[in-house]
Symmetry: C2
Subunit: 347 residues, 2 copies
């Protein structure tokens, strides 16, 4: 597959190979900001119909490649397809975000956390969307697959919705660590099968999102997230793997010791500081503040160049430090992307 | 006032003086967890009536001293009384949290961010509650006053409600930094007047809560929060000052350089690591994970002793790393407090 790609910058950067310029893409680039996305979205009954209909998911996945000129596509989907496949159906409520009718509170509830099912059947719609996307991309750029990290998926399965503190989830780590590990183990097994299925379907690279990493202390993160991230990192060997643990500042050194290629940094993390910690053994992805894209075009250019100037290695994939915000002007995103493309690597 | 206190442990710990054991209190100890609080609360029309009625605010402030045996009281109030006094009325919605009808978007809106008003008039109900509380406490323990940090209050004045990203507030830092600094300056002026009025009314110590510190990168925190925290720290000299910047891990060294006595740490921050950064020049407050109180009594004791064993100095005020969660069993809180009281300081 690699050989057929016309632009494989993001893969070379992930592997620490030579690159002629820094590659750039944006988390949440598919959807949200583009009028072309909203046109597709508004013709459907809701977010889930879009996620579950391969031809539409593929269409919005390709849009930012055509319109914004990013160096990678990322499949349009949601991390919550995994808990749903395991037995917990979710709804996406317009103003409230995700909502699960059932949640996991006791050992008994583990019947809603199935492991031994056919991922290619229950999540076939994502795999089909990956295949369709690659057909449409026709090798222009690589396609990134993704999944939520076990700790983050665990939070939704326990809580049933978003939360500022996820105190129900954290409570279980104290009150029933055996059940917590049991559930985390199940999520991990399914996640590995799911990522492998995405790779088989055509994903050229995969990313694991630990969106709620930042609400655990270092020790609990080491106990309840790291072992499962390690299982995933050890299992995914065919394509480059990116781990993005938002807010896990004190765990970055441990994460860099996992068998992954790239570490995502959020916008609060200082790149030169972290580069000192890991040296050149991993690629760093990130991390312009998504709010920087609210600035003027000149300012976006300046802030992007400042970020690029802070790099002391060629092992970088440029991205925002969080998903792009819905009300950002796509023209500002183009300025960000063009500034990265125009930048001459110093190494 | 100090001489009349029977227990001034928390003040001595803040000043780095000798203490016979570590003092302990809990953020949000007044309210939420106590049935005695809920009895008072349910007799009233809502949260705001409680905040605005000095005799009730004083009553729930004293409750944890009587019932839990903490070493300090903290006045029952809300950080949002400051933006309200400045011109933005808020409501406390049962399930949604704080809600402001008006917000600040333009220079024009600064009319809702008044500075030159009589704090003792508009916030007289808090000052009266402080006086009543001290009468009821009768010198048993010190009374802590508090305010939100300018950055955190700014977030509410811009956004009008809570948010996961506070992207509207962060947007203004890029699109209109002049307005942002202007508003921050106004909030700071009022906050200083307000804290000084609390001290004059009888607060023995004050704490500034920068609850949304963690959503800014280090550089923006240095630009948009630190100068205002510095103004506050420089202005408050009569009583010990605590600064609690939740999530501001990379800014802790700068905060420790402010003229304050105590730095609050959230539960994700490693005490020995931070102690190395600041040495013995400041007292550290915190930081048991509030979720640890969901454990068994034995486990609470074990986790509390583990925290205390990690101290390498006597400059500590023991607390949770966040406000106590509403559904925690008060008996577990008592176990936490008793464990701290039974602990023999090694220094």
């Amino acid at each position: 597959m690699k050989n057929t790609l016309q632009n494989d910058l993001v893969l070379r950067a992930a592997r620490g190979e030579n690159i002629e310029r820094y590659p750039v893409w944006l988390m949440r680039q598919a959807g949200r900001i583009l009028p072309e996305y909203r046109a597709v979205r508004s013709s459907l009954s809701g977010f889930k119909e879009l996620v579950e209909t391969p031809r539409f998911a593929a269409e919005v996945t390709v849009q930012p490649v055509d319109i914004l000129g990013v160096d990678a596509a990322i499949i349009f989907s949601d991390i919550l397809v995994v808990p749903e496949a395991m037995g917990l159906e979710y709804q996406m409520l317009e103003s409230k975000g995700p909502w699960f009718e059932k949640t996991i509170k006791t050992e008994e509830d583990l019947k809603y956390a199935e492991v031994d099912f056919d991922v290619e059947d229950r999540l076939g719609y994502v795999l089909e969307a990956i295949k369709l996307t690659n057909q449409e991309l026709n090798g222009r750029v690589p396609l990134i697959g993704f999944a939520g990290a076990p700790w983050t998926i665990f939070c939704y399965m326990i809580e049933g919705h978003g939360s500022k503190t996820f105190s129900e989830s954290r409570k279980m780590l104290y009150t029933n660590p055996v059940l917590a590990h049991n559930l985390m183990d199940r999520i991990t097994k399914v996640t590995i099968k799911y990522l492998q299925a995405q790779i088989k379907a055509g994903a050229h690279m995969v990313q694991v999102f630990d969106s709620w990493a930042g609400i655990l202390g270092t020790e609990q993160y080491a106990t309840f997230s790291m072992p499962y991230l390690k299982q995933i990192a050890d299992a995914i060997q065919e394509v480059p793997l990116t781990i993005f643990s938002k807010g896990a500042m004190s765990s970055l050194e441990d994460i860099a010791n996992l068998d992954c290629n790239t570490i995502g940094l959020d916008w609060n993390m200082d790149i030169p500081e972290f580069r000192k910690v890991i040296g050149d053994k991993r690629t760093i992805q990130g991390n312009l503040d998504p709010c920087a894209l609210y600035s003027t075009h000149d300012e976006v250019k300046k802030l992007t160049n400042k970020l690029l100037d802070s790099f002391t290695s060629k092992r970088h994939i440029v991205n925002l430090g969080h998903g792009v915000y819905p009300d950002v002007d796509p023209e500002k995103v183009k300025t960000f992307i063009q500034t990265v493309k125009d930048y001459a690597i110093k190494y």
